[in-house]
Symmetry: C2
Subunit: 233 residues, 2 copies
Amino acid sequence: MTGTGHNTRKDAAEPGVSGREQRSRHRARGEERRGEILGAALEVIAERGYRGATLGTVAERVGITQQGLLHYFPTKESLLVEVLRIRDDWDTGGALSRKDFGDSPWPLANLETLVEYNAMRRGVVQTFSALLGESVTEDHPAGEYFHDRYRWARAGAEATLRREFGDRLPNGLTPERAAPLLIAVMDGLQFQWLHEPAGADDNGTGGAGVDMSRAFRDFLDLLYGTSRDADGN
Amino acid sequence: MTGTGHNTRKDAAEPGVSGREQRSRHRARGEERRGEILGAALEVIAERGYRGATLGTVAERVGITQQGLLHYFPTKESLLVEVLRIRDDWDTGGALSRKDFGDSPWPLANLETLVEYNAMRRGVVQTFSALLGESVTEDHPAGEYFHDRYRWARAGAEATLRREFGDRLPNGLTPERAAPLLIAVMDGLQFQWLHEPAGADDNGTGGAGVDMSRAFRDFLDLLYGTSRDADGN
DNA sequence: CGCATTCCCTACCTGTTGATCAGTAGATCA
DNA sequence: TGATCTACTGATCAACAGGTAGGGAATGCG
């Protein structure tokens, strides 16, 4: 029951493994574990939120103890910070702020792609949405993150809109004032979609759910002032 | 400190008070306390979310013990259910689903009023938003509530849009497909507003915040396809 | 080979939370 | 006047939570 039977393992087993392979494997172990933990934390936060998530649950999912996890992330909050950081790399950093941001002939296509991408990553969206909800409560560790993120997202959206439409949208609205709406639609649709998804990979719900990608395209049509496919599809 | 000095109160004091009034006052104590508890719970949930809220904190705010609170609401979840119910009466029941729903010459004005009303009730909005975020997590007691609420809200929005525009919005979009966008904007703006409010009662933020009411009007302009005041204001 | 580092565990502590149990004081009622 | 109901309180509990202390095994390094 107690930790016995491990001293006989190394010397006898794996006789043909070279020292280099063992070393590199050992080195990589740490970063690999970190990655596993981050992935598990993302899952657990999606399922229970940050406050509801426990270090023990995350650790268990990686196959170590809670104290083993604390070896990598000294506090629960430090774990959250890292989760937020990798999410930024994946999602926002991957689309909203990419260097090739203005490369597309149609800037808003990037946002459309982002939404479609999110629709395939329910876990990530759920984590994000759960944290966003919690972040409005007092003294939440993610509060500042979302505050900054919103400023930043609105600025990005405004720049995109300006690149697309100039200083006025077709209906006369300025990019500055349309930007919050764009962000709001993206966030708001996520909640509806999480509660009742509908879309490419989901059929038979009777049409009650929300097709996030299609709805977002509908909103873009609204910005353009014309409908591209509202009649047929 | 302990409950002394009350046995002399009844017989001697209030000689002219009839038995009926005393009885009713006694009866009302219970309902009054219930109301106080519900109000405190709304506050505490706004500050810490449902999972983060504790019965002790709520009870303390009413001036009773945690066990005293459990006398009125046998479980924490039952308290949440009641909070959700009264919120419905205040907010949704008061505007979205009112009988005089179609009485206004301009149906969407009701929604505008609702948003303006919300902008004056930060605590309620914060409670709602915190719970909405939590509700996407697994086995959350408010999950079903929000699921149903979204269906219902979309149906209500669709009906309103149909009453205003008929079967097609100016840009060709159907009310059915515009409804989710309307709800998404309302929800999404709340998060931005909570994180950085701006508006009538808030000046000097440097324009970085979000004026929820104005932004919502901007969105309605988008639905109409024309801008009413985007140039000057 | 000895030493440091990395990785992870056992043991333990302290605090919190929702909930139960039993009981008390006053009001109501028969 | 006694029975009963309402509105609580105090004591207590089991279950967890995050975090600390310290140690041990495997590995890398000189």
